[in-house]
């Protein structure tokens, strides 16, 4: 390894501190927005939150611009690319653990708390004393407290969405193959198709929420079934949104002629992220909708 290239250590950069200010504003703004909403009062929380988001957007734009310029000037050694790849992998691992918390809550509710409330294990007196009329079931269409709702079927929109997302993962893969083999046309078309599929998915997910709220009476606060349903699909939807934005940025860069078979970390990272979002959806489809 004596011929190791020297590792690129970037000079001072203003973007991290801008990002820290942005994140601080977002946290403070989000906190006061939530409190304002729950107290039904006016406040400047949402203004601070918006300001924070703008600062973050400026930061992301500036930081990635610097990053892309460095990459286009060939300042990124192979070793640095390995750092980026490993960093992205660990980031995706942290995302998996974030979803694991919510899947864990779903598991606990279905396997432990709901049966126990109905007297399973050694909890006969719990059922007898607290809510004797409660019947354990999933979807939990009537909570112990008496809130009623309806279950969401897996056929129809959820199934269509599953097909769409799986296809988008495949087109994303073929876009990557196109990049690897320097087939720019295949790359552009497949990437475009992936973005369109991602947008359709998001649109249908929105339509499903409207259907759930208006026809099924399934809302965020209708017991643990609604909680886990909206938190899991909601956080997944936010990740699809982020993934789609990343794909759009990649599309614009492809159109500008960026990336080559040996300089394509950003594209690779985006495609990993997209596959990750797809895998989460498959787990979600099986555990939230089907079973």
């Amino acid at each position: 390894m004596a011929e190791q290239q020297s590792y690129y250590v970037p000079p001072s950069s203003p973007w991290p501190i801008v990002g820290a200010i942005g994140l601080g504003l977002i946290a403070w703004g989000a906190g006061s927005t939530v409190i304002n909403i729950s107290n039904a009062e006016e406040g400047y929380g949402s203004t601070v939150l918006t300001l924070g988001i703008i600062v973050m957007a400026v930061m992301l734009f500036g930081w990635f611009r610097d990053q892309i310029n460095e990459s286009m000037q060939g300042m990124h050694s192979d070793q640095l690319n390995v750092s980026y790849k490993q960093g992205m992998s660990w980031f995706i691992f942290s995302e998996i653990m974030f979803f694991a918390a919510f899947f864990g809550a779903l598991f606990y509710a279905r396997v432990i708390s709901i049966p126990w409330l109905d007297g399973a294990s050694n909890n006969a007196m719990t059922a007898e004393v607290l809510w004797p009329q409660f019947v354990a079931q999933w979807p939990l269409v009537e909570t112990p407290g008496g809130t009623e709702t309806q279950g969401m079927g897996w056929y129809g929109l959820p199934l269509i969405n599953t097909v769409i997302l799986v296809i988008s993962s495949i087109t994303c893969h073929f876009a990557h193959v196109g990049l690897e083999e320097n087939k720019r046309k295949q790359l552009t078309i497949m990437l475009g198709v992936t973005i369109v599929l991602g947008c359709i998915f998001l649109y249908l997910q929105g339509a499903e929420y409207v259907h759930a709220y208006e026809q099924l009476g399934l809302t965020l606060d209708s017991g643990i079934y609604g909680n886990t349903f909206y938190m899991l699909t909601g956080f997944h939807g936010m990740h699809v949104t982020l993934g789609t934005i990343m794909l759009i940025v990649m599309f614009l860069r492809v159109v500008k002629g960026h990336f080559s078979p040996d300089n394509q970390f950003a594209f690779q990272a985006t495609s990993w992220y997209w596959h990750f979002v797809d895998v989460v959806w498959i787990c979600l489809f099986v555990l939230v909708y089907v079973i």
């Binding site: 390894m1 004596a2 190791q4 020297s6 590792y7 250590v9 970037p10 001072s12 950069s13 203003p14 973007w15 991290p16 501190i17 990002g19 820290a20 200010i21 994140l23 601080g24 946290a27 403070w28 989000a30 906190g31 006061s32 939530v34 409190i35 729950s38 070793q79 750092s83 980026y84 490993q86 960093g87 660990w90 980031f91 691992f93 942290s94 653990m97 974030f98 694991a100 918390a101 919510f102 864990g104 809550a105 606990y108 509710a109 432990i112 708390s113 709901i114 126990w116 409330l117 939990l140 112990p144 407290g145 965020l220 606060d221 017991g223 643990i224 079934y225 609604g226 909680n227 938190m231």
Partner: protein, 528 residues
């Protein structure tokens, strides 16, 4: 090795340090960022310590004297949060930033700009959290563990600020951990194989993995608290099909690995210091690595030992009891290895070694009281008493904090280029050692006699032990001012430190001059 030293000297002349405030705001240098982390954690240590002083002052006598119960609860809560997320964890990250690149022969951390970001969001996160203390109704008052329904039903209006602050601290830790892992796996100098790495690097590698695995789970837990409190979800509400006990499961799935996050780097520090001052190689290097990994793996299987009194099925109680006691095995391996390292060594007792020795003894006491707590039927009596407070302060103050102080003394010459004042350091050590035991040891007895934790008032029979503990507390707090004075003094001057001021020290960090040049190992050294 001498060629390495020449290289860095050469580079130093080419490279001018940026100056002024923007040096610190915009920096991508691992040493600058390490210093920022260390100073930040030092400041937070004093803020959290001041809150502990309020707690001890209130508990000096039975009855309510100084503060309202609600404010007392805020003090215990924020004291815990600050010490965990603001003092101990950033101190370890600061040490990692300073030392890991130099220990493995890397030019910097792998992702220097992200490194800056992970530090600078911390002050903003704490600003958000601490600002809630001054709001109407006050700040977080539900204990640092924010159990539901305390946090979801009975908490102050400002809980949302707490939630988003925790999100920021989590993001910071995850980014810091990613940086550490990537640096270690991708930036080692040629020849620096995994089993040649210093143990501080090894323990941090495993710690970073734990951080990435559990901080997102904490983010999930606070998010559920947020929606339960403000948006009508019922994750932790039985009326909606959830369960308050589920909160404890999710929280402690994070919380138990978290306590190892706060002790594994200590093991690395002690494993560097004891060999240096006994002038012997570390006994059982490989077994140390395996023991650390075993502790990390087991840490995912023991979370419910914090919940023995929640009414889990007997099978679960037994499983978590046995797994917990199993952790004593790899921990014992470490203790015995340190003792075996000292066996027939040529020992000297400078400040780092004194703190390391105190660590070995007092951490073991904390470990043993942990074993007592691990025994389910016994825990039914100890649960939520001062015995628990005594236990985790022995592992965290005389464990984690003492190791950080040991590390500071050990590496201060490398950081500042000057030797610290050994007389002051000895004074700091002895006052700390005596006062910390006066502070925490009586708490065992208070707990065994049944004094509950997190209570501003208590029955009269606990008055004597509390008075003793409070006196110890004030003395321990004052002793830390000696440390502050000593560190400031050391940054300003003193006896010049040699490149390797400790005769028995080993590692690449001692091959560069003291103070370490702004950039080190721009060309990787060769490790045989």
């Amino acid at each position: 090795m001498s060629t390495v030293v020449d290289d860095t000297h050469h580079d130093e002349h080419h490279d001018h340090k940026p100056y002024g405030i923007t040096r610190w705001l915009f920096t991508t240098n691992h040493k600058d960022i390490g210093s920022l982390y260390l100073w930040f954690s030092f400041i937070m240590f004093f803020i959290g310590g001041a809150m502990a002083m309020v707690i001890r002052a209130e508990l000096f006598q039975p009855g309510l004297q100084l503060v309202e119960p609600n404010f007392f609860n805020q003090m215990t809560t924020v004291h815990g949060l600050i010490m965990v997320f603001g003092a101990v964890m950033p101190a370890f990250t600061g040490l990692a930033n300073w030392m890991i690149p130099m220990m493995i022969g890397a030019p910097d951390m792998a992702l220097p700009r992200m490194n800056n970001w992970s530090f600078w969001i911390l002050p903003f996160g704490f600003a958000v959290m601490l600002s809630s203390l001054f709001m109407e109704g006050g700040g977080p008052n539900f204990g640092w563990t924010f159990y539901a329904p305390l946090s979801t039903t009975y908490s102050n209006d400002s809980t949302a600020f707490f939630v988003f602050a925790i999100h920021i601290l989590g993001i910071s830790s995850i980014m810091g951990a990613i940086n550490v892992i990537v640096t270690i796996t991708n930036m080692r100098a040629p020849g620096m194989s995994y089993m040649k790495m210093p143990l501080f690097v090894w323990t941090w590698l495993i710690t970073a993995f734990l951080l990435i695995a559990v901080m997102p789970v904490l983010a999930g837990a606070v998010t559920m608290v947020l929606t339960d409190k403000y948006f009508g979800t019922s994750f932790f509400d039985a009326a909606g099909g959830g369960d308050p006990v589920m909160f404890q499961h999710i929280f402690w799935f994070f919380g138990h690995p978290e306590v190892y996050i706060m002790i594994l780097p200590s093991f690395g520090i002690i494993s560097a210091i004891i060999p240096a001052f006994t002038r012997k190689r570390l006994f059982g290097y490989a077994s140390m690595v395996y023991a650390t990994a075993s502790i990390a793996i087991l840490s995912f299987l023991v979370w419910a030992h914090h919940m023995f009194t929640t009414g889990m099925p007997v099978f679960a109680e037994l499983f978590f009891m046995y797994c917990t006691m199993l952790i004593a095995v790899p921990t014992g391996v470490k203790i015995f290895n340190w003792v075996a390292t000292m066996w027939r060594g040529a020992m000297t007792f400078e400040a780092p070694m004194l703190f390391a020795l105190a660590f070995v003894i007092l951490f073991t006491i904390g470990g043993f009281s942990g074993l007592m707590l691990a025994i389910t039927p016994v825990d039914f009596q100890y649960h939520d008493t001062y015995f628990v407070v005594a236990h985790f302060h022995y592992v965290l103050v005389t464990g984690a904090v003492f190791s950080i102080m040991a590390a500071a003394y050990y590496w201060l010459p490398k950081w500042t280029g000057y030797m610290y004042d050994e007389t002051l350091a000895k004074l700091h050590f002895w006052t700390s050692l005596i006062s910390v035991n006066v502070l925490f040891f009586p708490m065992h007895f208070a707990g065994l006699a049944g004094m509950p934790r997190r209570i501003p008032d208590y029955a009269v029979q606990f008055a004597d032990v509390n008075q003793i503990a409070s006196i110890g507390g004030f003395a321990f707090g004052l002793s830390q001012l000696i440390f502050l004075w000593l560190v400031i003094k050391c940054t300003r001057g003193g006896e010049k430190a040699a490149a390797k001021p400790w005769e028995g020290a080993e590692g690449l960090e001692w091959t560069v001059p003291s103070p370490a040049p702004y950039h080190t190992f721009e060309k990787p050294p060769k490790v045989e």
